[in-house]
């Protein structure tokens, strides 16, 4: 099979699989374009992608977790901790590379804690991550006693502001992580095992899948993705905020579920999640551009989520 054929077939498959949700995205874009001609510009498209980056990357991690039938409510707090770890590293005079490594390690560690508590102590992940959400949020505030911490490292802030080959670095990072997660999920034994375990944990166990280890690794992935989100956020803001990422977990879950990930586990893709995140991003951006007042934005956003999920559920049912 040639490359073009593959990619054409892939596109067709995406359209088939994501008919409902893809349609919602296109309708949204169409509406906004009609109402504000500036919406459909390359510059604005870059805007949307950059704004959606933090949620999209966190949502990639969330997709893994939901795929297993679990949930991770602590990612908003992990986003904040990651920024703060970076800021503190610089405050202690470290360079970019060690700060980056420590930040990612912090994310991995927080994910590891979630994973071990869930997989080894058999506590429900919902309650584990509600608890760690509070714990991590408390921890992030200790170094500065709640105040934001400025980040002066130029490499770090360049991530959020500079471009590479004409494309903002943030967008590159989103694309790379998208491909990474999509390939890991769709093309490797690891991803296959995640689907199988999410679909039927008992059967996976009997088939020799190391279910506990898998679960822990996936919480670590979620933690690392959230940490990367935190890096992007702090680099865009030039500072680590102790209230960064509050309630982002809900946006990340919404993105994943809009994209067809089933909260019951076993079903979901990164493509869907990306589309879901874009819907949320386009909606926020478009309504800002139209100067929709804040409270009406809340209402419209809720309605759009309902309609999109409903279209998707309907499309899936019709296919069966």
């Amino acid at each position: 099979m040639s490359q073009t054929q593959t990619s054409n077939a892939a596109l067709l498959k995406i359209f088939k699989q994501y008919g409902g949700i893809f349609l919602s995205l296109i309708i949204l874009c169409a509406i906004f374009s009609v109402m504000n001609p500036r919406f459909m510009s390359v510059a604005n498209f870059m805007n949307v992608l950059q704004q959606v980056a933090v949620i999209a990357i966190a949502a990639f991690g969330m997709t893994w977790v939901i795929l297993l039938g679990e949930i991770d409510l602590s990612i908003g707090s992990i986003i904040a901790v990651a920024g703060m770890v970076g800021a503190q590293c610089f405050a202690y005079g470290m360079g970019f590379a060690p700060a980056l490594v420590l930040t990612l390690l912090a994310g991995a560690l927080m994910g590891l804690i979630n994973g071990v508590l869930t997989a080894k102590l058999l506590l429900p992940s919902f309650i584990v991550t509600v608890a760690t959400m509070g714990i991590y949020r408390g921890l992030v505030s200790l170094p500065t006693n709640g105040a934001p911490a400025m980040i002066m490292n130029e490499t770090w802030t360049a991530i959020g502001t500079e471009s590479f080959l004409g494309l903002p670095i943030i967008i590159w990072i989103v694309l790379v992580l998208f491909v990474f997660n999509q390939v890991l999920l769709g093309k490797t034994t690891f991803g296959r095992r995640a689907y199988l375990t999410g679909g039927n944990r008992e059967a996976a166990l009997y088939s020799g899948i190391k279910v506990d280890r898998l679960k822990i690794i996936i919480f670590v992935i979620s933690g690392v993705m959230a940490a990367i989100s935190g890096i992007l956020l702090s680099s865009r803001l030039f500072s680590a905020q102790t209230n960064a990422g509050v309630s982002y977990e809900l946006d990340a879950i919404a993105a994943a579920v809009l994209g067809g990930t089933s909260l019951a586990g076993g079903v979901g893709t990164m493509v869907g999640t990306l589309i879901g995140a874009l819907i949320i991003g386009v909606m926020n951006n478009g309504m800002n551009m139209l100067s929709v007042p804040y409270f009406y934005q809340l209402i419209v956003k809720g309605l759009v989520i309902l309609i999109a999920v409903w279209l998707d559920v309907r499309a899936k049912r019709a296919k069966q």
Binding site: K187, T189, L196, G199, A203, A204, Y206, S207, G208
Partner: protein, 504 residues
Amino acid sequence: MNAPTADTILKINNISKTFGPVAALKSMQLDVRRGRVHTLLGENGAGKSTLMKILAGVYQPSSGDITLDGQPYHPTDPQQAAALGLTIVFQELSLCNNMTVAENILATREPATAGFINDRKLARDAARIVAELGLPIAVDEKVGNLSIAQRQLVEIAKGLSIDAKVVILDEPTSSLSDSEAEILFQIIERLKARGAAVIYISHRMEEIMRLSDDITVIRDGEYITTRQRETVTIEELIALMVGRRMEEIYPPREEAAPELSVPPVLAVESLTREGEFDNVSFAVRPGEILGFFGLIGSGRSEIMNALFGMKRAGGTVRLNGAVIDLDSPVRAIENGLGFVTENRKEEGLVLSQSVETNISMVALKHFANKLGFLRRRSERDSAVAQVSRLSIKTGSLDTPAGALSGGNQQKIVLAKWLLMKPKVLILDEPTRGVDVGAKFEIYKIIRQLAADGTAILLISSELPEVLGMSDRVAVMHEGKLSGIATDGDLTPEKIMAFATGMTS
């Protein structure tokens, strides 16, 4: 078809039912008479349960009409069906595991005044129902703590607690052993004597011949014929059902069983787990089929779970003479053990995933390069090979496993274990709920595996199956191995004696 007689209580005319593109029933007809047992016979997926669910008000027919006692009968839910005098014991267990036996038996019919439940009366009523049926279950136990067989009895009690004119039993014996089944048969006799009509579904030919008065054969959702029991033989029925003749039910062994002097591949010594099984020792040789028989609750599944590393147990396990520590399924699989579990839906299959994905599940490593990237081509080739080898009937390899009929699902579970080429294959009730045709194919595969040198542990609650397939039969009684029957001892009488603890 016979003209309706005065005895006719339930009459089904031209019933069709479609699920999207699937036509599960095509102009089905049936004429059920008072005081008689009417058996429905058909392959897996023939549409038996669908018809029963229509009768119970779970599904609405796409077309056709039904009369009960001469009146038009179109129930919209099972409660209404019960009110009109029809009750059903469902094939798929429809119990709530978190609740007690009593609460399940009387679910939605709790004794209550003004909506307030009288819990003590509930327990009393349930205990009375269970006692009247003669079932050995405690009504205050949580259903989740019962074995599958016990749950099946609860299901029966739930269905039969309604005083009905028509009683439907959809594969009630699929996980019962003979002694529990016997209780059920007596209940059926009493129902008949009372004048109720019983619609019975089973894949066990012996019990069908014993119980039935009328037998209707259906194939691919279509009515084939109705016969009276006295006028047919098992062979004829099977031919009607599968559309071809079958020479025998159990394929004969083509090569001789291995000598007892051959060193065993798996030797189990004094395997013990508190409260479940005690001091169990046995050995199995390459190419040997070692049957395991016992009444329900005798602990066979528990032993196999321990062997497979799902539960810890004391004792020694030797593989080819070397002691191994089986502490997890991962380790068991690495050591060449395969385990077709008792409950395919819960422990065997990922129903939402495709046939292909399920087949490659255990041997997944072999379909990936060192980096863990899947080689989809070789995965697909293997799946194609398995599907044709086991003649699995599926729309495509991408069909979700949950969409297949029971027998075909069972074959997928077999296929996934065959792909890892086990040295020892444990089969726990491998033909539960499987139709005769598919059973025969599964037996052929077992024979083939044995011929290729695989050691097989075959657990079954069907005595004919154990006798028909095994070289030797280990018999369990209340957690202890009461004996291993060989050659001359391989008779129903001898084995039942072991199983009920009459010997030793």
